[in-house]
């Protein structure tokens, strides 16, 4: 493939990320093959004051990698080498375009793995993961990206090299690792990542339970935590999601259930045996209508396959769906879900819920038909309502998908003007001319006073 793409037709595959509602074409798409080339691109853009939008695999769900019409789309996907695995120190040094799953695959024969596992892990890049502070099914126990990386090589907007973090567990000065992680390509371009690797657990087991109401499933989630167990993963799917996933993957889910929980425990063989029994009996105490314990690795993989395929499975039920990402305190689960069902009726749009229940991170999938413009507007309004609801119960507008373009307006429901200005000042500290991914992540109040009343500006296809 060419390293520079100028024709509109060849640029099409890059016009949006996985949130296809927002799309645009850039001046140029560039696909550098070396860090030096990335540096040259940045230096030129800096001199000419041209916006730069970084892109990994484009699996983002908030339009963070949507091109800028007057800018360069800088794809890091060709920087895809695993540079080094240090088995004794349990670290891997990789380029930003390496996919999440490849790191774990490469580490597997040392009996190590990289813990954060977004459902998009086959495709999404580690550079994208760092930029979004991605989580996954296992982050309840093992943390998010920010907890699993040691060091980054970054190029500033002017193309200056910066190494942040260290091979140790902290570094002198301000913790720029914390700032860069989750910064959505607004503060610098990540050109190398050193991740921490963990020993593969001796054993893992999934306990699946069906419930006849979402509130009972929600209570069971709280009961596990209250019992002092931190499962490796604790996921919930409601009826529509269960049915779609079961039709798609034949995972063996109880289709009659109002909700199911998938709970994975891992650790030493003895620990897993003990926790499996405890959790299975907690599920029964909370009136589970069925409890299934994975009997072998094949069944464990199958139970997860349904969960990991839930998004595409919903995609078969509806021409389009819109995935939300609010987080809430766990205790608010049943209240928030019942509100979401009420809103679903109000907006006349079906909704399926499949989410990280242990973290209180919801993913309502709103189904609609994008050829119907009123449906798009209803879907967006419905989504916005869910995020405001999350904030009102003490949660936040995004747990792992980022703000991107999509949630700029909702930033004003989570933050005060002074707080937004503080975020803006951080942006200015790194990028005074606002050339890195402009118009994403944080509303720039100094530039656009009208944000608080602004409906999202975008094109629909």
């Amino acid at each position: 493939m060419d390293c520079i793409i100028a024709e509109a037709e060849s640029q099409r595959p890059f016009e949006c990320d996985a949130l296809t509602l927002y799309s645009d074409l850039p001046l140029l798409v560039v696909l550098p093959e070396t860090v030096e080339q990335v540096q040259s691109v940045l230096r030129i853009c800096h001199q000419l004051s041209v916006p730069v939008v970084a892109r990994g695999a484009g699996t983002g769900l908030s339009a963070g990698a949507m091109p800028h019409p007057e800018g360069i789309l800088l794809c890091l996907s060709k920087l895809d080498r695993i540079l080094d695995i240090d088995v004794l120190a349990r670290t891997a040094r990789v380029q930003p375009g390496v996919s999440n799953l490849r790191i774990s695959e490469a580490a597997a024969h040392h009996r190590l793995y990289y813990a954060p596992d977004p459902s998009s892990q086959i495709a999404c890049t580690i550079g994208g993961n760092v930029s979004e502070n991605s989580g996954g099914v296992h982050c309840l126990k093992y943390g998010l990206t920010v907890h699993n990386i040691l060091s980054l090589d970054v190029l500033t907007v002017a193309g200056e090299k910066l190494t942040i973090g260290s091979m140790g567990l902290d570094s002198p000065g301000y913790d720029l690792m914390a700032l860069l992680t989750g910064s959505e390509g607004l503060l610098g371009i990540i050109t190398e990542v050193t991740v921490r690797l963990l020993p593969l657990p001796e054993r893992a087991q999934v306990i699946m339970a069906g419930f006849d109401s979402v509130s009972k499933a929600g209570d069971a989630v709280g009961a596990i935590i209250a019992a002092g167990i931190i499962p490796a993963g604790l996921e919930m799917m409601d009826r529509l999601a269960v049915q779609a996933a079961e039709d798609f993957a034949q995972a063996g889910y109880p289709k009659e259930a109002a909700a199911i929980l998938l709970c994975e425990v891992d650790g030493t063989a003895e620990e897993v045996a003990q926790h499996t029994q405890e959790i299975a009996s907690l599920f029964e105490q909370h009136a589970a209508t069925s409890v299934t314990i994975s009997r072998d690795e094949a069944q464990r993989a199958l139970l997860w396959k349904g969960r990991k395929a839930a998004f595409p499975a919903i995609g078969r039920l509806s021409p389009d769906y819109y995935c939300m990402d609010g987080t809430i305190p766990r205790s608010q689960l049943s209240f928030v879900l019942s509100e979401i069902y009420r809103l679903s009726e109000q907006y006349a749009l079906p909704v399926a819920n499949v989410f990280h229940a242990g973290d209180g991170n919801l993913h309502p999938l709103i189904m609609f038909n994008a050829s119907d413009t009123t449906a798009i507007h209803r879907a967006e309004e419905f989504g916005a309502k869910i995020l405001e609801l999350s904030v009102s119960v003490g949660g936040c507008i995004t747990g792992e998908h980022g703000v991107g373009v999509e949630k700029l307006c909702q930033m004003t429901s989570q933050f005060s003007t002074e707080e937004l200005l503080q975020l803006e000042d951080i942006k200015y500290a790194f990028d005074p001319a606002l050339n890195l991914n402009p118009g994403k992540g944080i509303p720039i109040l100094k530039r656009c006073q009208e944000y608080r009343a602004l409906p999202a500006r975008h094109q629909h296809d």
């Binding site: 240090d86 004794l88 349990r90 190590l112 502070n133 989580g135 982050c139 309840l140 943390g143 998010l144 920010v146 200056e160 090299k161 910066l162 260290s166 091979m167 140790g168 567990l169 902290d170 000065g173 301000y174 913790d175 914390a178 700032l179 992680t181 989750g182 020993p199 593969l200 209250a226 002092g228 650790g267 030493t268 003895e270 620990e271 003990q274 987080t327 809430i328 305190p329 766990r330 205790s331 973290d359 209180g360 003490g394 949660g395 936040c396 747990g399 792992e400 998908h401 703000v403 949630k407 930033m411 989570q414 933050f415 005060s416 503080q422 975020l423 000042d425 500290a429 790194f430 992540g441």
Partner: protein, 362 residues
Amino acid sequence: MTERPYPPCSDDRSEHIINALQQARESSTPVYIKGGGSKQHLIGRSCNYTVLDVGGHRGIIDYQPEELVITARAGTPLVDIIVALEDEGQILSFEPPVFNGAATLGGTLACNLSGPARPWGGSIRDMVLGVKLINGKCEQLNFGGKVIKNVAGYDVPRLQAGALGTLGVLCEVSLKVLPRPDKTLTLCYDMSAQEAVQHMNQQAGQPKPLSGAFWLNGQLHMRLSGTTSAVNSTVTQWGGEIMANDEALWRQLREMTLPFFDDAGALWRFSLQSSAKVRIDFGTTLIDWCGAQRWVHGDHSGEALQQAAVEAGGHVSLFRSGDRNAEVRSPLNSVEQHLQQRLKKAFDPDGILNPGRLYSWL
């Protein structure tokens, strides 16, 4: 939401803090932010400014065990928090030193201090979920929250870890907490430092419930914490001598009250790649954090230490005593320095919050 029976806190001093900061700003006189004072002479450079005492701003505001989240005012003594958690069978997984009860929540976050469990239980930087702070413009701001995941806006809460109060006066902190493990036990082995570094890193690569690995004077100590069954089976597989009264040892290590720390002279802290070989001998070394944190005493040349630290993938700082008017941390290059200064300005444009505490130029 069920309210828990905590006595209502009448010690909200945020207004006093804002007033004091406004005065400092108007008169262009910087303040030194003091919590419990336990770390005033540690970690940072010395600062002789008017003291802004924030230790009185204390009290647990919200604790929901089933949410795994606690929120308290920054001046709350850590021991108060630890006791409240204990009642519910929970812990601060980063095992911070409490320094005779004087350490506060805010000070611990500002210094990013964690104990022996750090490589496995994370740091306070890893566990902080949200902060309320007052920046140098005297604005009271909330970032992060009380939920486990939150990626809206830049991660300002984690940025406070290790910033030594130079970006804002911390007022409230929300932390993720974890259940207390059922059982803890320590295994001992006679080994040289070299062997110990190799051994602890090898064992850390096994899926076992390791929660501490430290070496001193020819003895390696490996702590296991987890379910009773997991700890017991690991003991059988690993062998080694089971230590009696191990709790006291880990407490002394955490609180820096082991005889090793008695030396009143300069105390240096290395933060390194855990598996790094000990290249240069700086005298008796205490190796903690599975090799990632190492301590030495004495009046060494800063450059020699610095060079050794860089070769081992990390950095070195003068933790206690020595010349605290000079720089006490590894130098940063000009690009880094410039960015750090711009960041400081973004929070504290007039430089009233602990200026010079981290670096003379910051």
